[in-house]
């Protein structure tokens, strides 16, 4: 099974005629993702890479049965409109690749997604990949390298850094530890599926036996994963690295941040909370494969 992408996934690429859209569609298709349509307003009725292009997502949904996922490659200021269009057309999973999407736009997308029972990964994401099945976004860059770098197995990866998503996945594979799915949740303050949502997916996935999480300071994603463990909602072994230890904690300009986040958000608070609930905290990034291997020994 793995998560978020499976045999049922049928993808529409919004912005397929652009530079990034075209390049990443090539990667996705070469890796096995079923990209069945593209959308670029005003450029309907042509083919790109053998994929039919439509003017609107609605048209895609009407013409091609089973389309359930959209990967968005449009310039940041246009992402809100593209995402709302997809959600309104009944798409249930979106991957919003662009960065620099204004935060109020993301909030509007989040509100629409919630109302329509849709989910989104990103914005500012490399996307996600299920080994041997498909990729949504641009992880791996080329299908051939994605196949070389990421080997099949039972460890899930969730990361707040795009480069580190591939990096952890590659170093695990190189050390003989295979992967189920790898997810870059996105680099922004507000993302559609933060760590807690992704580990919940991994919890339900039979193919995943343990999860490696790359966290960072700021926000409350990592603490909320700890909450899930405490509540018994995430029960698989979690190997976690929290980046940003060296960052100095300066005086906050805003009081509101402290009021909302309380004592959450710092490196120390994240590590403490995760340790408290029994997560395996990795101190040195290079030790992730060794510690994961050690944890896996006790799983079976």
């Amino acid at each position: 099974m793995a998560i978020l992408i499976d045999e049922q996934t049928r993808v529409v690429v919004q912005g397929i005629t652009g530079r990034e859209g075209m390049a990443r569609t090539t990667l996705m298709m070469d890796y096995g993702t079923r990209v069945v349509a593209g959308v670029t307003p005003g450029k309907g009725n042509q083919q790109v890479l053998g994929v039919p292009v439509f003017d609107t997502v609605k048209e895609v949904v009407e013409e091609i049965p089973g389309v359930n996922t959209s990967v968005v490659f449009v310039p940041a200021p246009l992402v809100k409109n593209a995402a709302l269009e997809a959600i309104d057309s009944g798409i249930k999973l979106l991957v919003l690749v662009p960065d620099r999407v204004p935060i109020y736009d993301v909030l509007e997308i989040a509100a629409a997604a919630q109302l329509n029972d849709a989910r989104f990964v990103g914005p500012n994401t490399l996307g996600l990949l299920t080994v041997g099945k498909g990729v949504l976004g641009m992880i791996g860059g080329r299908a051939e390298t994605a196949r070389q770098w990421f080997k099949k197995g039972h460890v899930g990866v969730t990361s707040r850094s795009g480069g580190i998503t591939s990096s952890i996945a590659y170093y695990l594979s190189r050390n003989g530890i295979g992967l189920s799915s790898i997810v870059h949740v996105g680099g922004d303050a507000i993302v559609g599926m933060p760590h807690p949502d992704v580990v919940t997916q991994f919890q339900q996935d039979e193919e995943t036996t343990a999860v490696v999480m790359f966290g960072e300071i700021g926000g409350t994603q990592e603490e909320r994963v700890a909450d899930l463990i405490e509540q018994g909602k995430f029960t698989k072994p979690l190997i976690a690295f929290v980046g940003g230890k060296a960052a100095k904690s300066g005086t906050r300009f805003s009081h509101a941040g402290a009021i909302v986040e309380g004592n959450r958000g710092t490196h120390e608070s994240k590590v403490r909370r995760l340790r408290q609930v029994g997560a395996h905290i990795v101190e040195n990034f290079d030790d992730i494969p060794a510690i994961t291997a050690e944890v896996l020994k006790n799983v079976h």
Binding site: S166, A246, F253, H255
Partner: protein, 529 residues
């Protein structure tokens, strides 16, 4: 395309641009929130004139991005215009946390009966804005919130409908406030929400929100931060550099920001961290790629006893020209001892673009400090090959590494090279733009490419045409020319991959040169030298 938010990398550096108190209050007034009468002044004289116009005892408030201004002497009370002049001069001479105070806000003094707190912030867990009201305001609001949760009320705002009047009234009611005051305070909350929404604020706070003896409710202070990514939609805010820095932007920061502002292909961040150091102090020009990987790499370079002169990140599949400009700007920092480039180590993007950008910059700087670049990821073999072969003749060593070489190993290697390099002086020679016998030029998005058809005619390789990634060159009469129109090249068909020039450097007759100007850099260099 993606890049990481870097808020954790640098102290005080987040994805928000701050507004000064007087700017925030201006916005509040536009939304009909009352503020004390006030004017902005840049000199003691202007401040005195402002006080005369206000014709009442005033407070002189230094406009600076720090908290606790009163304790630091940046807020002064004055009764006469002469006293205002003195106090304003005093405040304008202050430097707090690296910030010189350039302006003061001269405001009428107010008689406060009671202080409250009002704030709007975006809650990452709930994915919505949250309005916060506290029946106690002023200094130490965080502690009050922690110690007396009953005094603080929070409410999630539905982004699609906004904050409704009755919601605001019920929120204030939860802190035990009733009647007219409840209505007045709720009114301010609704207006604050509209103001925050309008300017796309990451945070908008009024602390204290003051009830005056005359029964009026006014915003006695205001702090707002605007979403960096939304700054482009708000020219009216006049934000010069959409970055929150813990000090004023340096000249190099601004030069770098101008490069980024006008080029959406990938991302380029540059923040100068130190200045005014000497050669041999161990400062490194740091060039990361991607937030997470940059952080690991910074740790690795710090662990070798180096210090960071700057933080830079080029990622998200940047054009080679952008990486070139980043490297030139990094190398414009005087007295750095080494150059370290390293990202996640396993990049999805094609790494030879970065390699070409770096190689061109190193050649033009006639690099005389050791450089170690970790180029792991797609196309890494080609990338390392390009970097090393093109920089072979330079005074200092340039080494490229791949995904199986850890950041730690690469930083160690840099340490070894720097130790071996110590005491060596620059072996002279500077880069000169080639003189062309028969120039053939065309413009690209951000530069100009020139082929010297005099040299090209004698070139057997014509690697420029073979290596051109978008395939826009052709050979005619034995020399390279555009295979598309000049307009198409300028509009972006030429992707500025720099392959034609860099391949020509190695295989050809040095007949190709790409001029990629960086506004303000030459002046800056002339100034610091």
């Amino acid at each position: 395309m993606p890049r990481r938010s870097l808020s954790w990398c640098i102290e005080g550096f987040t994805d928000m641009a701050r507004l000064h108190e007087h700017q925030g209050k201006q916005i509040l007034r536009e939304f009909k929130v009352a503020t004390p009468r006030g004017m902005v002044a840049s000199t003691g004289e202007e401040a005195a004139q402002a006080a005369e116009k206000i014709a009442a005892p005033v407070v002189v408030k230094g406009q600076v991005f720090v908290t606790g201004r009163a304790k630091l002497g940046a807020i002064q009370f004055a009764d006469s215009p002469e006293e205002v002049r003195q106090k304003a001069d005093q405040v304008l001479n202050l430097k707090l946390n690296n910030f010189a105070i350039e302006q003061v806000l001269v405001e009428e003094q107010i008689q406060i009966e009671q202080e409250f707190y009002a704030g709007i912030i975006i809650d990452d867990a709930a994915k919505c804005p949250v309005v916060i009201f506290s029946s106690t305001g002023g200094t130490g609001i965080e502690e009050i919130a922690a110690a007396h949760p009953d005094k603080v009320a929070k409410l999630r705002i539905d982004i699609r409908v906004g904050l409704r009047d009755y919601e605001a009234r019920n929120l204030v009611r939860r802190t035990g406030i009733h009647g007219k005051l409840q209505m007045q305070l709720a009114g301010v909350l609704v207006k604050l929400w509209h103001a925050a929404r309008q300017v796309e604020a990451r945070t908008a706070e009024i602390n204290p929100l003051a009830l005056l003896q005359n029964g009026q409710v006014v915003a006695a202070d205001c702090r707002m931060t605007v979403d960096d990514y939304a700054v482009f939609r708000h020219p009216e805010l006049g934000i010069e550099i959409a970055r929150e820095l813990s000090r004023p932007a340096s000249k190099l920061d601004k030069i770098a920001y101008d490069v980024e502002k006008n080029d959406y292909r990938g991302t380029f961040y540059f923040i100068q961290m130190e200045d005014g150091f000497e050669k041999g102090e161990g400062y490194v020009g740091f060039h990361g790629a991607g937030g997470g990987g940059s952080m690991m790499s910074m740790d690795a370079v710090n662990a070798q006893g180096f210090k960071l002169a700057n933080f830079t990140d080029t990622s998200g599949n940047p054009a080679a020209s952008k990486v070139y400009r980043a490297a030139r700007i990094i190398l414009s920092q005087k007295n750095i001892d080494a150059y370290f480039g390293s990202g996640s180590g396993v990049a999805s993007q094609e790494q030879f673009h970065s390699a070409r950008g770096l190689a061109k910059a190193f050649i033009e700087e006639n690099l005389s400090i050791p450089a170690v670049i970790r180029l792991g990821g797609n196309g890494e073999d080609k990338a390392v090959d390009i970097l090393e072969k093109c920089t072979k003749g330079l005074p200092a060593t340039v080494e490229g590494y791949k995904k199986d070489d850890s950041a730690h190993f690469c930083a160690q290697r840099l340490r070894e090279l720097v130790d071996a390099h110590e005491g060596q002086t620059d072996s002279g020679g500077t880069f000169e733009k080639p003189a062309f016998a028969k120039p053939y030029s065309f413009e690209t998005i951000t530069g100009t490419i020139t082929f010297d058809h005099g040299a090209c005619a004698d070139c057997d390789h014509k690697v420029c045409v073979e290596s051109c990634i978008p395939d826009i060159l052709k050979i005619e009469n034995d020399v390279p020319i555009l295979a598309i129109t000049r307009e198409e090249a300028k509009a972006g068909k030429c992707i500025e991959c720099l392959a034609c020039e860099m391949e020509c450097v190695y295989h050809g007759k040095r007949g190709a040169y790409i001029d990629l100007p960086i506004a303000g850099l030459d002046d800056y260099r002339a100034e610091v030298d």
